[in-house]
């Protein structure tokens, strides 16, 4: 999946790790294409600098980190219409997930909707199609969220 984005003009992969996204991030680390920031909003700021230089980015984060980024989404990305792909690990998708993930996991879909961010859930069957959708939205200066459900407990 990492290579799929890299080959389609996404040059920057910035964010804060999530075990849900481990394989994706590990592929990028092997290619030395990952920048890990201290917080998610910092990643959004950095990728805004890339976007202003005509270079597209994918931001990876946990949904806890998505909650961290709300102000940078509304008053930077949406205000200036900065194109970006947000790849978000859906912690708390399973009711048996760790207690600290449950509240944000529950409100995540409505939070995305309230923020008017279009999102799609990636599965083994649809990930190429939905990734293409997000990549295409970049041309329209739009943010898209791609969600990966956490379907395991640790």
């Amino acid at each position: 999946m990492f290579d799929y984005f890299l080959k389609r003009n996404i040059h920057n992969f910035v964010g804060v790790p999530d075990s849900t996204l481990k394989f994706f991030i590990d592929q990028g680390l092997q290619k030395k294409k990952i920048i890990i920031t201290t917080r998610e909003e910092e990643a959004i700021g950095l990728a805004t600098g890339f976007a202003l230089s005509n270079s597209y980015s994918l931001i990876f984060m946990q949904n806890a980190g998505f909650a961290n980024s709300l102000s940078s989404i509304t008053s930077l990305l949406q205000l200036y219409r900065i194109p970006m792909i947000l790849l978000i690990g859906w912690r708390g998708y399973l009711k048996t997930d760790a207690p600290e993930h449950l509240t944000i996991g529950k409100i995540q879909p409505s939070l995305l909707k309230t923020l008017e961010i279009e999102s799609k859930i990636l599965t083994k069957q649809n990930w190429k199609k939905n990734s293409d959708w997000a990549i295409k939205n970049l041309q329209k200066n739009q943010i898209s969220a791609l969600i990966i459900r956490r379907e395991f407990d640790d």
Binding site: T38, E41, G45, L46, T48, L52, S53, S71, S75
Partner: protein, 183 residues
């Protein structure tokens, strides 16, 4: 010097190099004192001017990129200093207008007077300079032309009661003219 005087002088000294300015009165003063297409006024998202500046610096290594920041903004996103220090953009010049206060919201105190920002910046690989007067500011701008960054210039300014008018162009215009000027 007060905020608007220091910002006007620094804006003049940067010439046609891009400036990313922090939200609040810093962007407002920059717009009022010396509006240029190469100014990116970050009117919201407090704290992120340095992160945006880092992104632009990494993608435009032949240009000197200036960030006009405040003490309140830096304190809100101190992680950015660490990331900048780790990635070491040679062409990033981070100017901090330090008045130990959140002047844009009514002059409430920040804690910048109680910490040593200079030591923090140095420990994450910045080269740090302190300036106070008009002459010192003019000289430091000449000096940093030939110094590899990341560079931090801390300018202690006096608190003032001056407020500033809003940035008079909309966000999409700020973006498009900035992008046209650098790409």
């Amino acid at each position: 010097m007060i905020r608007s005087q220091a910002i006007k002088l620094c804006a003049k000294m940067t010439g046609i190099n891009p400036i990313i300015s922090a939200n609040g009165f810093i962007s407002r003063d920059l717009f009022t004192e010396l509006d240029k297409p190469t100014n990116f006024y970050m009117i919201g998202s407090m704290g992120l001017a340095s992160s945006i500046g880092l992104g632009i610096a990494l993608k435009n290594p032949r240009k000197k990129i200036f960030v006009f920041d405040g003490d309140g903004n830096i304190l809100m996103n101190m992680g950015s200093l660490a990331t900048i220090g780790a990635l070491r953009p040679r062409n990033l010049i981070h100017i901090v207008f330090d008045n130990h206060s959140h002047e844009s919201t009514g002059g409430q105190p920040t804690i910048s007077n109680n910490i040593k920002l200079e030591k923090i910046a140095k420990s994450v690989n910045y080269k740090v300079f302190h300036v106070h007067t008009k002459n010192e500011i003019e000289n430091i701008f000449k000096k940093v032309k030939s110094v590899y960054g990341p560079i931090m210039i801390i300018i202690k300014i006096k608190k003032s009661k001056n407020t500033s008018k809003r940035v008079g162009i909309d966000s999409l215009e700020i973006k498009s003219r900035f992008m046209n000027s650098i790409n």
